[in-house]
Each structure stands twice: as C-alpha cells, then as structure tokens.
C-alpha cells in the first residue's frame, strides 16, 4: 500500500492536489483537493447587479467569456428581458463564445494535455527543413530544458517523425489560440475579460469591416480544427489506444446546452440550442434537465456542515479551514443525489442520446477510424475526442453566424433594474455546465451563486460517500510506475480541470429563494 500525492497538478488552471492510495499497482481510493479559496460571491453582495457580469468573468482567466455570457443571461432573466435581446446581439454572443470555446479546446489539447503524450526532446534528432523545429532543436542543444523538464518519464510512444510533427503543431496551436482570442475581441472588446457583452445585449453595433474580418478568421480557425486538431486527436487515439479503456468515471452526464438558436424563449432549459440540454448515462437514453434536482454537499469540504445538501439557491457556506475529514475547498454538487460528469463528453453524449443528427454524424465519422462502438468515448481519450468534436461543431457554424449579423441594427435593449427579482443563467462553458443564480433586493445584489463545471468534475465525496467524477475515474486504475504516475495525470487532465472556477464561493444566507418565479 502506498500513497501517491501530486501537488500541484500542473497544466491545468489553478491549485489542484490529487492523492491516490495504491495497492499492488492499482488505485484503491483517490482524493481531489482544490487548494485555493477566494470568496467571489460574498464580495458581490450589496453591489449594483449590472456589475456582477464584469466581476464574475474575473473568476477565471481561461473560461472568462463563458462566465460573462452566463452572467449576462442571468441578469437578462432577472431584469425580465431574456426574450427581448435583439437577434443581432444573440448572434454576437454566440460568435464571441464560439471563437472563445474553440481556442480554449485548442489550448487544452495542445498546451495542457499534449505533453503527457508527446516527447519534445525527440526534436533534438530533427533533420528536416522546418524552421520552427530547427529553433526548438537549438533550444534543446543549449541544454536548459525548462519548462519541458522535469516531467514524468517513461511511456512516450510516438515515433520521432510523429513526435516532431506534433511539436510543430504545438507551436502552430499557440498562434491559433491567440487568433481565437483576437476574433473574440473583434466583437467583445478585449480578451481575457471582455467588456462588450452586457445585460440587454452588446455595446457595439456590427460593421462591414468586422463582418469581413470575422469571415476570414472563422474560416482559418475551422480549417485548423478540421485539418490539424481533429486528425491529431485521432493520432493520439491510434497510438495510445489503451486510453480508450481507462478513466471511465461516474457514467452519468449533464449538459445545459449552449449557443442559442432562438431568443424568444425566456426559459433557458427549453431554448433551442446548438448543444442540447439534458442528462444521460452509459445507456445513452436522454432525460430532460430539471434545475431543481441540483444540491451541493459539503461534508468533506472545508465549510461549516449545517447546510449540506441544499439547492444552490439555499446554500449557506462558511469556511472552516481546519475541519476534520475536510479535504477540499471544492463543494460536491450532485444531480438527483448522484455525481454527474460535465464537459465536452457530456455535451456529445447528451446530444447523441437525443438523436441530434449533426452530433451523430460527427461521432460515427470519428468512430469509423477506430472501428469501435460509441462506448469507447467513456474514457480518457474519449474526452479528448469529444472536445475536438465540440470544437468542430462550433467551427462549422461560425461562418453562418457571422453572415447573420446586421450592420447598423440594434444590439441592445434598455431595461430597468427591478426593486426585487431573481434570475438564472445557464449554458455549457467549454469545460461543462455553468450556472449563475442571482437574487436582487432593493436594486442591489442580495445573493449570487455560481455552480461551475469543475465543481462538478473535481468535487470531493458527498455526504452519502459517493466520490466525485474525477475521483471515480481514478479508482481501479493500474499505475505501472508509482514514481512516474502518468496514468493518473492523464486521467485528471482529460477532464480539463479549472480550479479558479471551481472554488469561488462563500456565504449565502437566504433560504426562501424558490418563492421567486425563475422563468
């Protein structure tokens, strides 16, 4: 029996520690700990409700644009204008979040995950004419290999030629993700932390020069996803095929859906979206989403115990840093009392279960490379593949969204902040289901709550003793070399954890929130 402690887990966002107890080379139990606490929601109390959006996007420098959009949806809903946002603004929100999510998926695959599979040092033997690879060869020959070493050693399987090609793509992807940010900023002002998404719509009216540049940018990023990103994920699948068999996880999936295809429905759970709302499990049967089924548990989180198991609207959270049995700043959200995985795999699984034709086509096309059934997707590589499919699905829609923009037409509707009210904004961020809940009193924020993707995925045990999705994905994993636990970090990174997002919450006093009409 031995314990593997990985603190910090790198190449993710934020402060994550993973502890695994291993017996005869197999993970018997695992703990995921969020190691940072800031207290975002508490600092929102008493502020102008409109400020929520510009503050909550600062929860995360990686997922910021998903937060700003979710917050805008919650404010639109609280101000009673969710169904009146001009179509122009809806397309602009889709476009900015679309470009943002694609660059986020590229960032994750190449810059956060790829070094688990790709060996940069093999470029030392490069003999071709590629200038990028020559500069990396020069870097290696100087002998200071940080930040690419130290690293876990051992299982790097690509041939030198393929390794070199993927390193070259790693560098190209740096440029492409920067361009994804630029394209987002064309309509969103600046990135990270955009300013042009606002309750009521957007602040900038589209012009023809912006449409022209966005069309070219949309095409460029689509071609990168089609010609480089998706094929590279398939190459990893062909070489590390056993990673289609491990890291299955909790087997339950939840998606809020995302990218509004109509704006007339004020209930976001019923809105027509590009990615679909719902839940599913390994049987791939679709179930409708019910936001009332969400509860947060804190027996193993560093918070006072007295309100474990409440709906996000009713929670009361006081930090208790030295709590016995506590091991994380992350709470444990559960749906119908069970752990649910969120993220690209959940989005693909839910849309597939619903029979969405575009999703089914993409999944079949991918699976044909491996001559395998859909259930191989419930795995480490399945998550990477699903992420690439999500990028592809968005990329194929960007150009038509750009063409839907109307120069000179309104992007904003004025509103009055109500004396009292409540709102919810839900969407699927790049990393999964993201919800913002707001309650307004005396025209100020009374309470604000976010339940974010990594809170679901990296959650600790709940009061009933169920492990969180990442913890469950680690259970039973065979670790070949305990000093180089590549299997563990590959499983954890396949979820693309974002700890800045996961731990941001504090102190909610109210218990009567459900009397507000949330439509």
């Amino acid at each position: 029996m031995g314990t593997i402690v990985i603190d910090p887990v790198t190449r993710i966002e934020g402060h994550l520690k993973v502890e695994a107890i291993v017996d005869s080379g197999e993970v018997k139990t695992a703990k995921c700990s969020g190691m940072l606490f800031r207290g975002f929601e508490k600092l929102l109390e008493g502020r102008d409700p409109r400020d929520a959006q510009l503050i909550t996007e600062r929860i995360c420098g990686v997922c910021n644009h998903c937060h700003t959009t979710a917050s805008a949806l919650s404010l639109d809903s609280a101000f009673g204008i969710a169904d009146q946002i001009p179509d122009n603004a809806r397309h602009m929100r889709n476009l900015t979040m679309g470009f943002h999510q694609i660059q986020d998926h590229i960032l994750h695959f190449y810059h956060l995950a790829a070094l688990d599979y790709v060996d940069v040092t093999k470029v030392a033997a490069y003999k071709g004419n590629d200038r990028i690879l020559h500069s990396i060869k020069a870097f290696i020959s100087r002998g200071e290999l940080a930040p690419f070493v130290p690293r876990y050693e051992g299982d790097y399987r690509f041939s030198s030629a393929l390794d070199q090609e993927l390193v070259s793509h790693y560098i190209q992807a740096l440029e492409m993700r920067r361009k994804g940010h630029e394209a987002t900023a064309v309509l969103a002002g600046k990135l990270p932390h955009a300013c042009a998404v606002t309750p009521g719509g957007m602040t900038e009216i589209p012009t023809i020069d912006k449409i022209a540049t966005l069309l070219s940018r949309a095409k460029e990023i689509r071609e990168f996803v089609e010609d480089i990103y998706v094929p590279d994920v398939i190459k990893v699948g062909e070489t590390y095929g056993d990673y289609f068999e491990i890291g299955k996880g909790c087997g339950k999936f939840l998606s809020y859906g995302t990218f509004d295809l109509d704006g007339g429905q004020s209930d976001y759970t019923k809105r027509d979206r590009l990615f679909k709302q719902g839940t599913t499990s390994l049987d791939l049967k679709h179930q409708t989403l019910d936001l009332d089924q969400i509860n947060e548990w804190i027996k193993y989180s560093w918070y006072e115990n007295n309100t474990s198991g409440h709906h996000p609207f009713e929670g009361e959270t006081e930090p208790m840093p030295h709590k016995e049995n506590g091991y994380s700043w992350i709470k444990a959200p559960r749906y119908k009392g069970e752990a649910y995985e969120v993220g690209p795999l959940a989005r693909v699984a839910v849309a597939y279960a619903l029979g969405d034709p575009a999703t089914k086509d993409m999944v079949y096309s991918l699976l044909s490379h491996f001559n395998a059934p859909p259930d191989i997707l419930f795995s480490v590589l399945g998550r990477h593949a699903a992420r690439a499919l999500c990028a592809l699905h968005i990329a194929k829609n960007l150009e038509s969204w750009v063409l839907s923009l109307k120069c000179g037409e309104p992007v904003y509707i004025d509103y009055k902040i109500p004396e009292e009210g409540a709102g919810v904004g839900i969407l699927d961020a790049a990393r999964g289901a993201l919800g913002h809940w707001i309650v307004i009193k005396d025209r100020k924020i009374d309470k604000y709550q976010c339940v974010v993707p990594t809170t679901w995925n990296a959650s600790p045990m709940d009061d009933m003793g169920n492990h969180g999705p990442i913890e469950q994905a680690l259970l039973g994993t065979k670790v070949k070399d305990e000093t180089n636990p590549l299997e563990i970090v590959r499983i954890v990174r396949s979820f693309d954890p974002c700890i800045a997002c996961a731990v941001h919450l504090l102190n909610h006093k109210g218990r009567e929130l459900r009397r507000y009409n949330m439509a």
């Binding site: 402690v5 990985i6 603190d7 910090p8 887990v9 790198t10 190449r11 966002e13 934020g14 402060h15 520690k17 940072l36 606490f37 207290g39 508490k42 600092l43 502020r47 102008d48 409109r50 503050i55 600062r58 995360c60 420098g61 990686v62 910021n64 940069v120 500069s135 870097f139 020959s141 100087r142 200071e144 930040p147 070493v149 130290p150 690293r151 560098i171 993700r177 940010h181 900023a185 064309v186 309509l187 969103a188 002002g189 600046k190 932390h193 300013c195 042009a196 719509g201 602040t203 900038e204 009216i205 930090p319 840093p321 030295h322 992007v411 904003y412 004025d414 970090v489 800045a500 504090l506």
Partner: protein, 297 residues
C-alpha cells in the same frame, strides 16, 4: 557551451484567475514561442523553471525545481507573481505543493522567493494592488506583493504591472527593459511602482472619444456615439496606454467596443470607483495639457 545567457525565471500564482498568464500568451511580437524558446533579446534566453499551466512535470518534481532555482540562482532569477496573497488563518486559503506532508501556504513562497530574486514583477492588478479578490469584505485577508514586502522588510526591486489582465506588451516590455537596461532607475516607475513607459498617461488624454467629451456629447445608452463618461467610463482617472496600444493585436479595446474603461490598472479598482455603470463622482476631470504642465513643474 552555448553563448546564450540563461536567465532563470519562476512564475508563481496565488489567488488568481490565471488571466494574466493567458493574456501573456497573446503576445504577438515577440510571440510566446519566442519568449519561451528563443532568445528574447540577443544573447539572452528566459528559462522558465516553473509555471503552473506550462510546466511539463508535476508534484514534488516541480516544487524541487522552484527550490533549486531559489538556491542555485540566488540574486539572479526573475520572480513573477500573479494573483493576491491570502494571509488570513495562516495562509490556508491558498497553498501550493507540500513539505514534510504539509501544504505550503502561497504566502511562504512569496517571502522565500521574493527575498532571493534579482527582481520581482507583480503581474496584474491582484498582485499589484489586490484587485477583485481584495475587494470588500476581503475575508481571506489578501495582500499585494508590495504590502507583503513592506511587512517582511524585503527590499528586492519590485515592479508592478497592473491590469485585469495586463496587456501582454506591458509584461514583455518590462522584461525586455530588465534584460537590456538592468533594474529600474530613478524616474522609470511612478509612485505606485508602475513603469511610466506604459502607465505614464491617462486613458482620457489619448481617448479617441475625447473630442465628444470636450464638446459635451455623451452617449446615453450602449451603441450610441459619443463619450462614455455618463455610462460609467473610468478613463478620466485611469493610467494606461490602451487607447494607443489597443488590445488583441489591435483589433479592439474597451472604449472602442462601446464600453467604458473599467479602471483596471488603478489601485482603486474595483471598490473605490463606484459601479462600472455609474458616472464617476467627485473627481476632478483633467484637461488636455495637464500632463505636460505637470512635467514642467
């Protein structure tokens, strides 16, 4: 042996969203590949020994890499601090790595590394001035690097590069100046330790909507032409060169996109600026020429 001089750097993040790192990834020329792999200025390469998002390794091996840099390159490595430093309850609100099976408070890292670095860049509004995590009620007792240094008597040269996030040019330019011209000299930094190269003038002084302000033509709702002052713009009191530099390779920036400046390079951000959507109150609005007059005094 190569002729290139290796400058070791350690980049640590405390109470941060990671947005400063992501912003620096957006640097265009030099590209982030140039910064990490190539010579950032001729004959010098920045060897990034630790960065949470980039480092290939994990766990004890990266903690060892940080500690080795601290000991082997004492007085010669560059420390970059992103995010606030939580100090309440012994620093339990942010911890990074373990020693003797005990998590290490981020606060300890800032002190231990800060003492031995050649220079420290506090990157972003959080490590410079507290930023959003430092806003009321500040339950985790966050402090800026400047406050920690004062409290601990650390005298290592410190440069604040605020912004939420900072522009990548502000960071890259600051590093380049350190490598080409050495530590900051008298007059290089303002009284808040910001490089005057980037934070020397008010947004208001270079704002393309300034003519509307002088004519008293104010936008009343978003999407309107006119000065954004009445919609909450903080440009009149915010020092940064965004209007000239613009953002994301120059495709846009806050005021050009129709939203007011949020004041994100100022220590007043966010608590002492009022709502982002409310007009500034009780401030003296400077006029064109004030900056130059100040210089002549």
């Amino acid at each position: 042996m190569s002729d290139v001089k290796e400058i070791s750097a350690v980049w640590i993040g405390g109470g941060t969203c990671g947005g400063c790192s992501v912003s620096v990834l957006n640097t265009v020329a030099p590209s982030i590949k140039n910064v990490l792999i190539d010579e950032i200025v001729p004959g010098r390469h920045v060897s990034l020994k630790f960065h949470i998002n980039i480092s290939a390794g994990a766990g004890d091996q990266v903690i060892k890499a940080i500690e080795e840099t601290r000991e082997k390159h004492e007085g010669h490595f560059l420390l970059i601090v992103e995010g606030v430093v939580p100090t309440a309850d012994g620093g339990v609100y942010c911890r990074l790595g373990e020693r003797n099976q005990q998590p290490i408070p981020f606060y300890r890292w800032v002190v231990e590394l800060g003492k031995k670095a050649m220079a420290v860049i506090a990157l972003g509004i959080c490590s410079s001035f507290g930023g959003i995590p430092g806003a009321r009620p500040n339950v985790t007792g966050v402090k800026s690097v400047m406050e920690i240094f004062k409290q601990e008597g650390i005298t290592t040269p410190l440069i604040n590069v605020p912004g939420c996030p900072p522009h990548p040019d502000w960071f890259v330019g600051t590093v380049a100046k350190l490598l080409l011209a050495g530590l900051p000299k008298d007059g290089d930094l303002d009284d808040l330790l910001r490089p005057k190269d980037f934070y020397g003038m008010l947004i208001h002084e270079n704002c393309p909507r300034r003519a509307y302000f002088d004519e008293g033509k104010f936008a009343k709702k978003f999407g309107d032409p006119g000065c954004l002052y009445e919609l909450g713009c903080k440009g009149p009191i915010t020092y940064a060169d965004c209007p000239i530099r613009q953002w994301n390779s120059g495709v846009n920036w806050c005021i050009r996109s129709g939203m007011g400046c949020q004041g994100c390079t100022q220590p007043e951000f966010p608590d002492f600026l009022g709502s982002f959507y409310e007009k500034l109150t009780d401030v003296q609005i400077p006029k064109i020429g004030e900056y130059w007059k100040k210089g002549e005094e």
